[in-house]
């Protein structure tokens, strides 16, 4: 009998990556993410330039009426902060793209009926899990690498851009953080696609989780409405100074991973407002690390407990 190659996870990962490249919906969502990354730096630069010009006009008016001219609110702005929109695009489109990739990696096998065939092969479920997780990691790394190359290139073309070695380090720290944040949602999607009976539920559970952490929890912890949550500056507005928000910030904060991500991103991209403090019971970095570990554990467990006798989903 021929034994199954020892590199089964590699074969699974390679085949899965190739399959995902053929998926048009994944391509559409990934392309959308890349296009938005492309215009992100321009948007930041354009908006900041406009504020500068408004300041110049306002200064003329204020001097004219004999009032003191306040300091320019965007003076001495870090060039990194021009990329602030990236933090929003990662938390919106990047996370959703990761969900779709994670879901398709498993759903494609289930829908095409190969799961029961894989169950007959001399391969452990752990090898299957490792292959699928490696495929997810590779695909998201490729997406993030394209995003990083495009954003850095676009940035270099913009006027007045210089960055110190420390700045570059922070920029790459942001890309690493974004990668981990996206991977977290992709891992959850792997788990739900593997365990759900219904195809749509497999996709919609991680989407619901994403909606909750992006739009609902920030309103509970900081009274940040959804339209503020899509603006990198408004999303960091201080919470009302009341016992209710102190407690929700402290207790619900650890679950509000989108806020943790935005807080850390703002720190790395130099647009964290002065005096901003994380109010959660767990520090944002530890919060994301725990959430990532939980998602990885969930995906591994769900894939290792996947029923290899069942193929397609119910309706």
């Amino acid at each position: 009998m021929h034994s199954f190659p020892r590199s089964a996870p590699l074969i699974i990962a390679g085949q899965s990556v190739l399959y995902i490249f053929r998926e048009r919906t994944v391509a559409m969502l990934s392309a959308l993410f890349v296009v938005l990354v492309l215009i992100s730096a321009y948007l930041g630069w354009s908006a900041t330039s406009t504020v500068n010009a408004i300041y110049a006009d306002a200064a003329v008016y204020l001097k004219g009426i004999g009032q003191t001219v306040p300091a320019n609110p965007v003076l001495d702005i870090s060039p990194l902060s021009l990329l602030r929109n990236m933090s929003i695009y990662v938390s919106l489109i990047g996370a959703l793209a990761a969900i779709v990739i994670g879901y398709q990696l498993i759903a494609s096998d289930r829908k095409s009926g190969v799961v029961p065939i894989l169950g007959t092969r001399p391969m452990t479920k752990l090898a299957y899990a490792r292959g699928k997780i490696a495929a997810l990691a590779t695909l998201l790394a490729a997406l993030m690498a394209v995003a990083a190359v495009i954003s850095v290139s676009t940035f270099l073309l913009l006027p007045q851009f210089t960055l110190s070695a420390h700045g570059w380090l922070k920029l790459f720290g942001f890309f690493g953080l974004s990668y981990a944040y996206m991977a977290m949602f992709g891992l959850v999607a792997l788990a739900t696609a593997a365990q759900s009976r219904s195809e749509s539920v497999g996709l919609l559970l991680p989407v619901t989780l994403w909606l909750t952490v992006t739009f609902i929890l920030p309103s509970l912890t900081s009274n940040i409405h959804p339209t503020a949550a899509i603006n990198p500056i408004s999303a960091l507005a201080p919470a009302p100074d009341t016992p209710f928000f102190h407690w929700t910030g402290y207790l619900v904060g650890p679950f509000s991973i989108a806020e943790s991500f935005k807080y850390l991103s703002a720190g790395l991209l130099d647009f964290l407002p002065p005096g901003a403090v994380a109010r959660s019971a767990i520090s944002p970095l530890a919060d994301l690390a725990i959430a990532f570990a939980a998602a990885a554990g969930l995906a591994t467990l769900a894939l290792c407990r996947m029923d290899m006798t069942r193929g397609d989903y119910n309706v």
Binding site: L29, A47, I216, S219, L236
Partner: protein
């Protein structure tokens, strides 16, 4: 009931009863209700803080023997507390529309019942009208629960109470919200009926949702100079409103581009109309309803015509025989 209406009604009733059994639609509806109420509640708590701050400041001034009338008493409009709920409907209400539309088409294709229905003496337009009627009714009912509970919560938490005019405004916003969610129902329903694979239709609907509901408003919002500085650039520079408008006038092209991006999104029309009717936007707060409706009729009709346009699109194309099953 006429012969034409009987099949429509039968399909609609069957779809509503299916949806009631489908726990996922119910779960998302409850999710929307909770999200909207949570936003309303946190808004009310934040407003109560403002009231307390005002009262404390007033008491301090009185204790110092000063005239408390020197600083204006802030006016509190309970309908403004609906801002968070409206924003949740913009996002999650649209998702509810997509899921209801997807389920309405995917369930028939998945159970292979679409082909069976087409063999019965039911005209294709009757089948589609029944599905649309059921979807619109389900969405209206779900949103009705949101607004009913929100109105009750508003009356209970604001301590100000709701007038008949307030309730009329909520009614208008409920009707508009129903059309808004129905347009997303149609998007998902049409694509799930037409596309080869229903799951891809769901993803396609989500991509359109992402562009219309989040990306276009996000770009418009980002390009607003007043959003680039925490608290607002004009507020921080302490520039009065009249001068703000003068300064803004010199950036007319920039503002036109920004506005064009925003108005390409049905969500922005929905937001502009509802924010004006409910007085959430400062310039409309406390203003009479009639002139607001006239001024904002363009946004309202944009939503209505988008829904009518998608309905026309749905009826315009015949169902393909190779799209009657799941894949």
């Amino acid at each position: 009931m006429s012969d034409h209406k009987a099949p429509i009604s039968a399909i609609a009733r069957k779809d509503i009863s299916d949806a009631k059994r489908d726990r996922f639609i119910l779960t998302i509806t409850i999710f929307l209700v909770l999200a909207a109420l949570a936003s309303l509640l946190t808004g009310a708590i934040a407003m109560a803080t403002d009231v307390a701050t005002y009262n404390d400041a007033k008491a301090t001034l009185l204790a110092l023997g000063k005239n408390a009338d020197t600083f204006a008493k802030p006016e509190f409009y309970p309908l403004r507390l609906l801002r968070g709920a409206i924003e949740q409907i913009e996002i999650i209400g649209a998702v509810l529309g997509i899921l209801t539309g997807f389920r309405a088409a995917a369930s028939e294709r998945g159970r292979q019942t679409l082909a069976l229905i087409m063999t019965r003496p039911v005209k294709q337009w009757q089948f589609l009208a029944g599905k649309l009627g059921a979807g619109a009714a389900l969405l209206s009912a779900g949103l009705g629960v949101v607004f009913l509970l929100a109105a009750l919560l508003l009356a209970a938490t604001s301590g100000i109470g709701l007038s008949g005019n307030d309730l009329l405004r909520i009614l208008i916003v409920w009707i508009t919200s129903s059309f808004y969610a129905t347009s997303f129902f149609l998007l998902a329903f049409i694509s799930t009926l037409w596309m080869k694979r229903p799951a891809n239709a769901l993803l396609f609907s989500f991509i359109v949702w992402l562009l219309l509901v989040l990306v276009a408003p996000q770009i418009g919002d980002t390009l607003d100079p007043d959003n680039q500085v925490a608290g607002g650039v004009f507020k921080q520079l302490q520039v009065p409103k009249a001068e703000q408008n003068k300064i803004k006038a010199s950036y007319a092209t920039f503002e036109t581009v920004r506005n064009d991006i925003e108005v390409s999104s049905i969500t922005k029309h929905y937001e502009r109309f509802t924010f004006a009717v409910l007085g959430i936007k400062d310039t409309y707060t406390g203003q009479p309803l009639g002139p607001i409706l006239i001024e904002k009729s363009g946004d309202f009709f944009w939503i209505i015509f988008a829904t009518i346009g998608l309905t026309g699109l749905m009826f315009s194309r015949r169902l393909k025989s190779n799209r009657l099953t799941k894949e």
